[in-house]
Structures are given as C-alpha cells and as structure tokens.
Symmetry: C2
Subunit: 243 residues, 2 copies
C-alpha cells in the first residue's frame, strides 16, 4: 500500500491586471506554461479554476454605476435579474437570466474601479470553453476549466465559491446505481464536483490578494468529459421547492 | 518567486469497519501516525475531515428500521426533525434539532446494515472535539477536525459535502473590513471555510469506497483556532429568508 494519490491545489501567481479585451487564455497560458519564474506548470488533466471577476473584466462586462446614488445598485441588480425572490435591507436575492439564484444578481463592486460594477458573464459555460480552447490551441495544454463565483446560501452563514461555468469536466457526477460498501444500491448520489472543485480553489485564492485562478490536480479522470453548469447544475424553477 | 504553497488533500486509507463503541480517535490516530504502511502521516496544522457516517456509527447513533414499511423512514425523519419545511415524493426537507436544513433530517440508509438507519450525531461539534482531543492526548497530533456530511441545495442540482461539526478551526472566516486589491473596503466576505474544506475532502473520498476520512494540508494557519459549525454556520431561522 503506497501513499494515496492526493488532490493538490495551487494558486496561480503572476496574473497581471485584467482589462476589457485582455486575452485571458494568453495570460493564463503564459502563467501556466512553466516559464513564469514561479515554477508552477499546468499538466494535461488539471482543472483550471478562474474567478468570475477576471472573466467578466476580460469580456468587458463592466458598467458605470453612480456610487453616490443608493438606488443605483438596486436598479442595476433588478435589470440583471429574471425575477427578484427576496429583498432585505441592502440585498436582493434574485434569479439571474442564467437561472442562478444569488445575492444581487452577481453584480459586484469589489475589485473593480470605483464608479464601475462587474456583471456576470453572459454565458459562463461558453467563457470556460473559450479559455479551454485557447489553452489547447495555443499552448498545447489540455485542461478542464471552471469559472467560479462566490455565492451565499440559505440556512447556512458564510459564503462559498461555486461553479458558474465549466468546460472539459462534468459539473455533476452521477453515482446512482453504483453500490455502497455494503452492496446496497445508492439511490441518489449525484455529486456536484464542479462546485466542490471551485470551493477547494477558493481556499488558496483568498479574497484580498491578486490570485484570481488556481490549478487543481488529481481529480478523477473519468470526470474529464464535456460538461455544463447551465445544463447540469441549474435546477429548473418548476422542480425547485424553495422559489 | 517560488512555487506557491499548495493545499493538498489525501484520503486516509486503512480505516477498518467502524462499529458502535469503536474508539474513533484510536482508529484514526493509528491510520495517521505514519506506521500504517501506506506512508501517509498527519502533521500538526493539518485538518482531518471525517464523514458523519463513521462518527454516527462509532457513537452508536443507529436505530432499527423496517425496510419493508414505506412509511417507516418518513416517521423516523419526522421524529428527528424540529420541523418539516417541504415534502415531495420520497423526500422531506427538514430542520434538524441542530438547525441544519437538509433532506430527511440526515437519516441515512446507505453504508449501514439493512434494517438499520444512521442518525446524525447529537452534537457534531462535540464529536469533532472528542476526536481532536483524543488525537492530541494519545498521539501527540495537533489537528483541526471537521465532521462532514452530504447535503443537497435548493436551486442547484447535485449534492456537496459540508461541515456539520468542527474543532480547532474557524468554521467561518471573517474578511470584512479588509480591503480588496483596489483599496476599496470589502463589505461582506465571511467565507465558510469549513464547508469548503469538507467539499475538497469529498473529492478524494468518493461515495462507494471505504474512505471515510481525509487529510487537508495547507490551510491558512490563522484559521486554526476554536470554532463551531453550530455557532458560526447555522443561520437563525429568524434571519433566514427561505424558511
């Protein structure tokens, strides 16, 4: 019996300020090709987790907002939503056009310039695919990509990072029909591995440092197949018990 | 610039079948002291994640259940709840006595013997403290401990592992008041690192293998202080928007 294979998660250093139009695949590829001086080199089969913030910036999903107008953010949040589920004080819990339920439609004022708000990517699965394709074609790297964001939860305090888009990895792995260790069939064990990988990445990225990406090595290779957060994770409103 | 410090997560091999009365700290200590033949040795500052299932078994939280009676599980689930929030087909979403909101009060029929159901530990923070104290006193290991369980979520499909108890690690790390990379104050970034660590651990444990524990190395040392899932994570019903 040898030491079991670990899962290893590194923050990706050396990512410069991202601006509208920045070629994210180029920036990430340069940070991950082993020439960056920090010695971290991605390997085929790794999962690259990229925060929504730099994806939104690169895609130009920035809008001006009047910081002095207390209603400006609420108007923007409402405009970015399909519907508002709850309101309290300074927070709106909304359903976004993607079907995500989160605070303030994912509109974010932190880590962007004053007078500017960052919106969620229009199609985060597509954003992940673009990064994945760019890394493959231009750097020869075969990576899965997850775009992550920080969401709150009902019932539990504290935020966690979750996946809002993915490419090259299943978002949900279906273990139904396999048997547990006693031979009894497991009935409902569809694990959202994309959210778990995003959460693991958050642990090395922190909130107040310029570390908007992480490499996760050691996930089960069988998970590395076409995937979509939109199709696999977003629960249709009609099937939801809490909307 | 050197390779950044990673977070590393190993499954803990060599854990035997756990029975009521099994001394979990002894079993885990023997699996982690480096003599187990698999070469994995815990180090001070590591986080040990232990699944609810073996904690419940060791604590004797097993009750007989008539597998042939379709109502037996619903009765047990209701008895284990403070209130039932939603019902649909074969699942009840309940608030447990601890304040957790989850499917079927956490009552579990998988990985236990037929005719038996496993209940949640009475006080999972205390369970974590007992394991932590046992490892410290008898093996000289200074580990944080998280007891994890698998919960569903509203709005998002697929389950993820979360923390239901902890010791020696803050469940929620408060980054409010620190500034983001642009110098603007971050308003609400209380991160539930205990849930993120539990999620990371799940990625190496799987569901159908006898790997009910994991070692997580590399968390921020400042998080390693007294913590409690009950006090830090359970949101009081009066503050909850979705109950």
């Amino acid at each position: 019996m040898s030491v079991p294979t670990p899962l290893t998660v590194w923050p990706v250093p050396g990512i410069p300020e991202i601006l509208p139009g920045t070629d994210l695949a180029a920036v990430l590829g340069q940070a991950l090709d082993g020439t960056g001086g920090h010695g971290l080199a991605a390997e085929d089969g790794d999962v690259l987790v990229v925060t929504q913030k730099i994806v939104s910036k690169a895609e130009g999903r920035l809008v001006p907002i009047d910081d002095s107008d207390p209603e400006a953010k609420a108007r923007l949040v409402t405009a970015e939503s399909r519907r508002v589920l709850r309101r309290r004080a300074d927070v709106l819990i909304t359903e976004t056009r993607h079907g995500f339920v989160c605070a303030n439609s994912g509109v974010d004022l932190s880590n962007v310039e004053r007078g500017t708000a960052a919106l969620l990517p229009v199609d985060p699965d597509r954003s992940a695919r673009r990064i994945r394709d760019g890394l493959r074609h231009r750097f020869g790297l075969e990576l899965a990509v997850i775009v992550s964001d920080t969401f709150g939860r009902p019932w539990r305090q504290g935020v966690t990072d979750v996946a809002i888009g993915c490419a090259g990895i299943s978002a949900v792995v279906d273990l139904r029909g396999t048997t547990d260790a006693t031979g009894r069939e497991l009935v409902a064990t569809q694990v959202c591995v994309a959210d778990e990988v995003a959460a693991a990445a958050e642990l090395v990225m922190g909130k107040d440092r310029r570390l908007p990406a992480a490499i996760v090595r050691g996930v089960d290779p069988s998970w590395l197949r076409p995937g979509s957060v939109q199709k696999e994770v977003v629960r249709p409103p009609a099937e939801d018990l809490f909307r």
